[in-house]
């Protein structure tokens, strides 16, 4: 089965990217990411002044896993989830909000961005992103992922791993 991580493409994706940029500008945060709950990055933006981010794959995987673990903890107490997830060190922090049941909005900030501001503008961005998702309930575009996809991907696997035998 192949499912869209989120119904987000074309003009809607561009609008959400614009909202991520607004979030960074208004909150003075470093990075804003929309990731799915399996830990795959859907969209991301970086403030012009921010240093190069760490591996986004690693960041998204760890945040999604951490979020799942937090949900499991909340469920031990009979709650569906914790309302918000904030992590702060001396230098950097992350703030995570759920986007429906498929995705997470992640704001990464440093000491120059007050947490209150980060929360306020992340929640505002979340509302607007959800509004975009509500508005754009079009059919997902069709991707050529049939037999030809598998044949081509299989060929790339052969190329990457050779005959699969250990030397």
């Amino acid at each position: 089965m192949l499912e869209p991580s989120l119904d987000l493409y074309g003009e809607a994706a561009e609008r959400v990217e614009g909202l991520l940029v607004d979030l960074l500008t208004q909150s003075r945060a470093r990075y804003a990411l929309l990731i799915d709950r399996q830990g795959f990055v859907i969209l991301h933006r970086r403030a012009a002044w921010a240093p190069k981010p760490p591996s986004l794959d690693s960041l998204a995987t760890l945040i999604a896993s951490n979020h799942s673990a937090n949900e499991a903890i909340a469920q031990l107490f009979g709650e569906a989830s914790f309302r918000e997830t904030v992590q702060q060190s001396d230098g950097v922090g992350t703030y995570v909000e759920s986007v429906g049941d498929k995705a997470l909005l992640v704001t990464v900030f440093d000491a120059s961005a007050p947490l209150g501001k980060v929360k306020l503008f992340t929640k505002r961005a979340l509302e607007r992103i959800q509004a975009v998702l509500e508005e754009t309930r079009e059919a997902a575009p069709v991707a050529d992922i049939g037999g030809s996809f598998s044949v081509h991907a299989g060929a790339l696997l052969d190329e990457l791993f050779g005959d699969g035998k250990t030397p």
């Binding site: 499912e3 493409y9 399996q38 995987t61 799942s68 997902a140 991707a143 991907a153 790339l156 699969g164």
Partner: protein, 196 residues
């Protein structure tokens, strides 16, 4: 399940290495990380205890390249094998596309292998999945042990119907590491083609 990201034009698959504690799941990922070209791999992340046992998971992203205009990637995870980390194992199976079951060939680990496989079935069921529906291969690791159990004996316990492809390995020496990864990846692609 496989996910498609139209915004970034990416197709992603999630493969999970499952098996009892100390069977060699993390070693598999370390070997893959060490032998795949730099341009095809991301950082490997390991969440371990102080004594280097997996606490939550290991993670390694592999980039296959562009297929039909879509960047195609496999995300490899291990689960913590120790019995008491079951909540973590269940979380990691969320959205799984394929499983490599890493079995230990030592005679005193036969029961642990069987219990881990039963635990895998139970945790998959929590996600509405079953091994019968999921691309799945078995790796028999530590074949270099002097007292390694015969392959047929382990197969009789783990896969008596002989359904799953089975690979012998010595993961520490990078023997039999790539074959199961390649096999499960191809099974995942075949399944995608059937459903598309």
């Amino acid at each position: 399940m496989s996910t498609i990201n139209f915004a970034a034009r990416e197709i992603n698959f999630k493969l999970v290495y499952y098996g009892p504690g100390l069977s060699g799941k993390t070693t598999n990922l370390k070997q893959i990380h060490a032998h795949v070209p730099v341009e095809s791999k991301g950082e490997m992340v390991s969440l371990q205890t102080e004594d280097e046992r997996t606490l939550f998971f290991d993670f390694l992203p592999l980039d296959l390249g562009k297929v039909n205009g879509f960047k195609t990637r496999f995300h490899l995870y291990t689960v913590p094998g120790q019995v008491f980390y079951n909540a973590s194992r269940r979380l990691i199976l969320r959205g799984v596309d394929g499983v490599v079951f890493v079995a230990d060939s030592a005679p005193n680990r036969l029961r642990a292998n069987a219990e881990s496989l039963r635990n895998l079935r139970e945790n998959l069921a929590e996600h509405g999945l079953s091994l019968g529906d999921l691309p799945y291969v078995i790796q028999l690791n530590k074949r270099d042990l002097a007292d390694a159990l015969p392959v047929d004996m382990i197969r009789a316990v783990l896969d008596p119907d002989g359904v799953a492809p089975l690979f012998e390995a010595v993961a520490q020496r990078h023997v039999g590491v790539i074959e199961p990864l390649k096999a499960v990846s191809k099974l995942v692609l075949e399944k995608l083609a059937q459903r598309a």
